[in-house]
């Protein structure tokens, strides 16, 4: 048999979930979120932001201090891990070193009421799916890191869980393998229609695999959206800074007309979507590749000097000194005549800059 579309895939819903360690350490603070069935959602954030705790709350390895957690239509808030239909791929893989690969993959099936023959059949189908058929009799210690990782995925997959959880699954792999494995995970998820919650601190990885990304910071959700929304329209300074590289400058919002704001940075005036801000002090975020540099003097621009110019192969990187602090810009034009010491006029590509609340 082969593993085909998963009819079990279920949604996950958090309502006001809080997790407090000890007396006053809030690891997760009043989070409400819905994860649709059959989607891959990433929890992204710096270490200590509460993303792993959120994942463990879904798994039932931690119990929430308050709020309700639902998987599908079932309230699982007080169910332990064993009784939730969820399986997890651990950062360290947590393969049982004393069991063979096949025994590892069969482990969960043994406790799920399958008959022996069926257990074996399903386990072998799982190994086949991750491209490891024929490795069943090996011990985990006899496999490479990437193979161990796949065994861990197979072990979680064969249970056909309602929700599949990944805790930084790629952090122990080398860079090349990471790209390959994350594509495989995404492919399996889409082919089988699984609900996957995926924790990572690597924003590139998150952008590449996710249907939706939930950025967390200091135990709360900083922004929740598609990869494109997060990159092009970050909601606040933290997200702009955390996802990709961004220059963040002080600015003044002069007037708001409908959805459009007139904004000023020094002498440079521009119109932007207002992002719901009021007139007054604010911040502007601009990606390095959305900054345009001009040799000639321009009226409406920021004046700057090139501090450093670095050639990195596919593009040029500039570090600029301006009245508003250092800025970082890149250009795909590797033949650009600009070099260290030149004075330049800086403008922003249209649609590039975003107004940010603090």
């Amino acid at each position: 048999m082969t593993l085909t579309g998963n009819q079990n895939a279920a949604s996950v819903s958090f309502r006001g979930v809080t997790k407090i360690y000890g007396t006053d350490v809030r690891a997760v603070d009043d989070i409400s979120v819905d994860i649709a069935a059959g989607t891959l959602v990433t929890l992204l954030g710096p270490s200590g932001c509460g993303k792993t705790t959120t994942l463990r709350l879904i798994a039932g390895l931690e119990m929430s201090s308050s709020g309700t957690i639902k998987i599908g239509d079932k309230d699982v808030t007080n169910l332990p891990a064993t009784d939730r239909d969820v399986s997890m791929v651990f950062q360290s893989y947590a393969l049982f070193p004393h069991m063979t690969v096949l025994e590892n993959v069969s482990y969960g099936l043994k406790f799920s009421g399958f008959r022996k023959a069926e257990t074996r059949e399903r386990a072998e189908a799982g190994l086949n799916l991750v491209g490891l058929s024929g490795y069943g009799d090996r011990l985990p210690s006899e496999l490479s890191g990437g193979q161990q990782q796949r065994v861990a995925v197979a072990r979680a997959l064969v249970l056909e869980p309602q929700v599949l959880l990944f805790d930084e699954p790629l952090s122990n792999l080398d860079a090349k393998l990471r790209r390959q494995v994350r594509e495989e995970i995404r492919e399996i998820q889409q082919n089988l229609g699984l609900t996957v919650v995926y924790v990572t601190h690597d924003q590139e990885e998150a952008l590449a695999v996710s249907d939706r990304i939930i950025v967390m910071n200091n135990a709360v959700i900083a922004q929740d959206g598609t990869p494109r929304e997060l990159y092009d329209a970050p909601a606040n300074r933290f997200v702009a800074d955390f996802i990709g590289e961004a220059n963040i400058l002080d600015c003044t919002v002069l007037t708001i007309t409908g959805d459009v704001a007139d904004v000023r940075i020094g002498q440079y005036e521009l119109r932007l979507p207002s992002s719901g801000l009021e007139p007054g002090k604010a911040f502007i975020g601009i990606r390095p590749n959305r900054i345009e540099l001009h040799e000639a003097d321009r009226d409406n621009s920021i004046a700057g000097t090139i501090l450093r110019q670095t050639y990195v192969g596919k593009h040029l990187e500039f570090t600029l000194a301006t009245d508003h602090g250092e800025m970082f810009a890149t250009t795909g034009d590797v033949n650009s005549p600009l070099s260290t010491g030149d004075t330049v006029s800086i403008t922003f590509a249209s649609g590039g800059p975003v107004l940010l609340a603090d």
Partner: protein, 725 residues
């Protein structure tokens, strides 16, 4: 090289009869009297001509002085002189025994000897050392181990002393098992002694007495299995229940280390002996005559369980904590409930720990001498049988050797059985990065009996130790229960006279000797152990595995076996140290060295190798690196090794009992003597004092280690950083 010449020309060649530390020889006819003359004078006076060939070997390296290190001749000269000189020393040492020439043709060559040759003294020692280092320096110059003189020298040194003080005695003992009455070798004698009914008899199956070998084996298996179970129970209580007094349970693990081995046996007599408290109480209750049921297997078993359970706990706590929480969490997310998780994941992952704990319990039980002696009754075990074969009326060295061999075979057999059971499966957690999470609690069906057993056993242990303290103040147990300081006064009385304090108590002699010997052995043990650990963790050289096996071997050898083999080996030249303090010190060094090695390896493997490498690339050689970088970071390990060896030297009995002499009596053998005279009060009082002294020593360690903790934590975090990719 200077050392070698000094050894040959200046200090006396032979051992001085007054003892190693006496310097009276400086005034007694030195340097011309044959007894105390240096080797050179002996040769010049034509007395000991066989020492003459040493001269060219010592002179040889002078040729090398002018040469460069990378010169081929330099290395060749050093290797040749070192190897031949050392070989000659050994050859001449063995060929002249107590009764003159050992081999007939030498006698015809040199003529009969008027006098015997004594054991090696300072001179011989220094010359031997010099030859050893000529040799290693030569090898280093040849390019072994990157041409590092310090490392090659250290390896040579450790190999030499382990060979002399571990392998040589054991092989010697092996040989003596085959020696007949008239000093010829015969397999028949061995077979005869080996098949003795007292050794292998199966009488107990039909109501009689079993052989000592069977007794030992049964006892050791029982003790190994039960201590493992109890140790596991305590480890589970500490890590997987909501138990609150974890620290005090950990403190309990110190007890067996500081308790002289037979003290628990004494306490059991006080409780369960014929006039023991509980025996009396029960006897009155159900109206039977108090019996001697505790003497024999039950008593020895209880005593050893009490003594060795904390050791099993110590082994298992590390393993139980070491099972990665991720493993257990993974099992839970894979729909296994708590009980299934424990049964299929936690327990199998603890297998290496269980095997180790069993092995330790087995070996400790095999080697235990004090408890069977005190409580054994008619239940003969190998260790006591060996003792009686040597000191008893039978005085049969051959029999002792055979018994020791059987004992050794059992322990080594257990080693291999353990290896076999663990097989080649892997139990270590791979990719140990990022293991957060907590251990799940035990399933409630398991936690209730576990807590119950742990509670009962704790109360029992506490009672036993209370009895020890209480017993030391009782006039005569079971007969006259008045409280008294009499025993302490007998043992530790002192008078303040005109010439200062006079130590009049009967125990002072052995007490000071013990302290002195322990204080000498401790630093030496730590040094040898740590240098060995350094070599094992930081250097790569051919035969490293064999080297490691050799250094750990003395741990697997029961103390009784060491004791017997030492008196057999070192009773005669060239190394004649029986009856001196040196043999005690040496036996402690090699008994306790493996612990120093283990402690050293454990903390050295936490220090990143890049630390030494950076020191080496900054221009330090490996000795300077060891001294300036490794050693300061190893303070906790050094202190642990120091205190452990100090304390063990004070409580050891199994090897010591064979090696003590009238001049050098140790506390433990003194106490055993009291016990044999049924003088329990004094024995217990003395033991209690020893426990107090050692508690103080351990406390001192805690304070010192606490102080260095900061430095070590820093080094650890540095290591962690280095490991993060």
């Amino acid at each position: 090289m200077i050392v070698g010449w000094a050894g040959f020309c200046i200090v006396p060649w032979y051992g001085i009869e007054d003892g190693f530390f006496s310097f009276a020889w400086l005034f007694e006819g030195f340097p011309f009297d044959g007894d105390v003359a240096p080797g050179l004078f002996l040769v010049l006076q034509g007395e000991k001509l066989w020492l003459a060939p040493i001269i060219p070997f010592l002179a040889g390296p002078l040729l090398a002085v002018g040469k460069k290190r990378d010169d081929q001749a330099y290395a060749t000269i050093l290797i040749l002189c070192g190897a031949l000189g050392f070989a000659w020393l050994i050859a001449q040492g063995f060929s002249i025994g107590i009764r003159g020439w050992q081999l007939g043709w030498l006698e015809t060559l040199f003529g009969p000897l008027g006098d015997r040759q004594f054991g090696m003294g300072y001179g011989g020692l220094l010359v031997a050392t010099a030859f050893l280092f000529f040799f290693t320096q030569g090898i280093a110059a040849r390019g072994a181990v990157n041409g590092d003189i310090f490392v090659v020298g250290a390896i040579g040194f450790v190999i030499a002393i382990v060979t002399i003080f571990v392998f040589y005695p054991i092989l010697n003992m092996l040989a003596s098992a085959f020696i007949t009455q008239d000093n010829t070798y015969s397999i028949v004698v061995f077979v005869e002694k080996f098949t003795d009914r007292r050794l292998w008899g199966l009488g107990c199956l039909s109501g009689g007495r079993c052989g000592a070998a069977w007794n030992s084996l049964i006892l050791a298996i029982l003790v190994g299995a039960l201590t493992t179970i109890l140790g596991l129970i305590f480890a589970l209580v500490v890590t997987r229940t909501g138990f609150r007094f974890k620290r005090s349970l950990r403190a309990m693990t110190v007890l067996p280390i500081i308790t002289p081995p037979f003290v628990i046996g004494l306490a059991i007599i006080l409780l369960f002996g014929q006039s023991g408290t509980i025996t009396r109480f029960v006897a009155d209750l159900i109206d039977v005559t108090p019996g001697r049921w505790v003497y024999g297997l039950p008593g020895v078993l209880i005593a050893q369980l009490l003594a060795f359970t904390p050791i099993a706990f110590l082994v298992l706590i590390g393993v139980v904590e070491g099972v990665s929480p991720s493993m257990e969490e993974a099992a839970q997310t894979l729909r296994a409930n708590r009980w299934n998780t424990f049964r299929t994941v936690s327990l199998p992952l603890m297998r290496p720990g269980l095997a180790n704990a069993f092995l330790l319990g087995f070996i400790e039980s095999m080697a235990d001498f004090g408890n069977p002696l005190v409580l054994g009754g008619n239940f003969d075990v190998l260790s006591t049988e060996i003792f009686f074969a040597i000191v008893g009326a039978q005085y049969d060295q051959g029999r002792a050797a055979v018994l020791a061999l059987v004992l050794l075979a059992f322990t080594l057999g257990a080693f291999y059985a353990q290896r076999f059971w663990l097989g080649k499966k892997s139990y270590t957690t791979m990719t140990g990065k990022g293991d957060s999470g907590v251990h799940p609690l035990l399933p409630s069906g398991l936690s209730i009996p576990v807590l119950l057993v742990a509670g009962i056993w704790t109360v029992f242990t506490a009672t036993i130790y209370m009895m020890i303290i209480y017993g030391s103040f009782v006039e005569l147990w079971g007969v006259n229960n008045d409280l008294t300081f009499k025993h302490y006064l007998t043992a530790f009385a002192m008078k303040f006279g005109e010439e200062g304090i006079r130590w009049t108590g009967s125990a002072w002699d052995s007490f000071w000797t013990t302290l002195q010997i322990a204080a000498m052995a401790a630093p030496l043990t730590a040094i040898v152990g740590l240098v060995t650990a350094y070599l094992l963790t930081r250097q790569n050289f051919a035969g490293k595995n064999a080297f490691e096996f050799g250094t750990m071997l003395s741990f697997a050898i029961p103390g009784t076996v060491i004791g017997v083999s030492y008196i057999l080996a070192f009773n005669v030249p060239p190394i004649e140290i029986t009856g001196t303090g040196i043999i005690l010190v040496v036996s402690f060094i090699f008994r306790n060295m493996p612990v120093g090695v283990r402690a050293g390896i454990a903390s050295m493997s936490q220090l990143d190798k890049s630390l030494d490498e950076s020191s080496l690339t900054l221009g330090a050689n490996s000795w300077q690196t060891f001294l300036n970088v490794i050693l300061p970071l190893l303070k906790p390990a050094i202190l642990a090794a120091l205190v452990y060896s100090f304390v063990r030297a004070m409580t050891a009995i199994s090897a010591v009992i064979f090696l003590v002499s009238a001049d050098y009596n140790m506390a433990t053998s003194y106490i055993i003597g009291r016990v044999e005279n049924n003088d329990y009060g004094l024995a217990i009082a003395y033991s209690t004092s020893l426990i107090v002294v050692m508690l103080a020593a351990v406390g001192l360690l805690q304070i010192l280690v606490g102080r260095t903790n900061v430095g070590r934590r820093m080094s650890q975090s540095r290591t962690n950083l280095a490991e993060t990719p």
